[in-house]
Symmetry: C2
Subunit: 308 residues, 2 copies
Amino acid sequence: MYRRTPFTVITLGTGAALPARGRYPTAQLVQIGGASYLVDCGEGTQERLRSEGINFVGIDRIFIGHLHGDHYLGLMGLISSMHLLGRKKELHVHGPKELKEVLDVQLRASGTYLRFPLHVHTVLHNSGVVLFSDKRVTITSLALKHRIPCTGFLFKEVLGPRRLRPDRVESIPIRERVAVKNGADVTLSDGTKIPNVELTFDPHPVRSYAYCSDTAYEPALIPFLLGVDLLYHEATFTNAMVAKAKETMHSTAGQAAEIAKSARVSHLLIGHFSSRFKSVDGLLEEARAIFPNTDLSYEGGRFLVGEG
Amino acid sequence: MYRRTPFTVITLGTGAALPARGRYPTAQLVQIGGASYLVDCGEGTQERLRSEGINFVGIDRIFIGHLHGDHYLGLMGLISSMHLLGRKKELHVHGPKELKEVLDVQLRASGTYLRFPLHVHTVLHNSGVVLFSDKRVTITSLALKHRIPCTGFLFKEVLGPRRLRPDRVESIPIRERVAVKNGADVTLSDGTKIPNVELTFDPHPVRSYAYCSDTAYEPALIPFLLGVDLLYHEATFTNAMVAKAKETMHSTAGQAAEIAKSARVSHLLIGHFSSRFKSVDGLLEEARAIFPNTDLSYEGGRFLVGEG
């Protein structure tokens, strides 16, 4: 039985609007079967990627949820470094409608003619819109609730083929194996029919990751988050500051946990911690009281989707 | 005799276009008598200022020489953090004409209404234009020679008053001391006249600092740099790469030293090192062969103008 390809989320920065206390602004790298997707790109993200030993030149796509500086100010520098390091492969960036103008103005001002095609796609403020899909993954939008249009992203694997049973694989003629993986039965030369179920295991379960930053408490998200393996949900404040959370349209750790609980996700990861918290243990405690399988994101944290 | 106020240049980043090898993109803080001026502001400058223990909220003015990313991409984040940290005092930013649009587009996209007045002033590509002056300093432009319009900045102290001799100060009536500092003689009640020269020392010599990054070898700068105490001049390459320097409109360490020598400056500081150099000792050696009083800038370096 082949080893499953890892589906990993690397949290590069876990701070909120004001970088402080050794926390960096938001950026995450999502790796699925050889492809890598950058989600948000706060100032200094290229430096963060470098210090995590990640070759960022080959990043496949970039998704920017909203245009508050702590979520995108590293993008221009990252693109510029990709250019200087010789990237040739086209780059797709998905983000709010103003993003294209922001990039165009800066490219023009710097007299830069990129050596690779840059495609900037507008993400509208809706949930459930497919932004990208290939044979491995489908990425859809999540309409978060923030002061400016802000989207989250749902990464869901595409259902794979049925898996050949190692003890039966020799009995399947080579030319029929693809069909068997797709559910076909096998008829031997003597006319014996072997049903597919005896030759294969079910496909691996589909893994999914949802990224929700920045957002007020938003129950309308729950139908889109149902049963995800890993949910990243911002937790800027504690419940003691619920009024502040409401005013700034952020969430408390308790609210993040309520969403995780209602959506029956497997694992909750919290981040986007206000710089006022020297220690974030209180945030973790608050969330775990409601949703026990919660963890803190941290700078350089690597989380396996479907294994937490 | 009062202690002279320090005139300091803090080099926050010494890398070139591509940040690497522990070097950060360009930014310098120039401190003169209580005021602080930021010169260029590459990505991550706010983080660099923080790690140097500098309270950046109070920076008086910001000067951006040109709009290549490694010289300004940290500006939006710095302004945003000043806002979040409660700055109320107006901020003046001087830079190329496109800078205002770059900032406006980003402020609009993020829905930010700054709590302090932000004034963006256009710096034209000329030498010798006064950009700012107060009772302590005059800041003028230097027309560098680069791929896009690029200016350097010359910080020159304003000549101070004559200094009262400590051993004679008691003999000067208090109400006349300001006049004496400005050169007046004193007439005692018995009619004796004491010439000013017996009561005062000359003013402190005027100190000056010139910042030249990024630029090809440009002898037209020399008349504006004559006799400065400290010259920062970029030295992206060595003379072995002079063709590359010419093509990219940067300088070699040798060329930086030639400028320093021709302008008879006191002290040369080089920086903006290409990421290809693991060690920059070769750059220093090359410059010192021509202009011995050369030093390397480094991350967090503090250089006293007029004392090197």
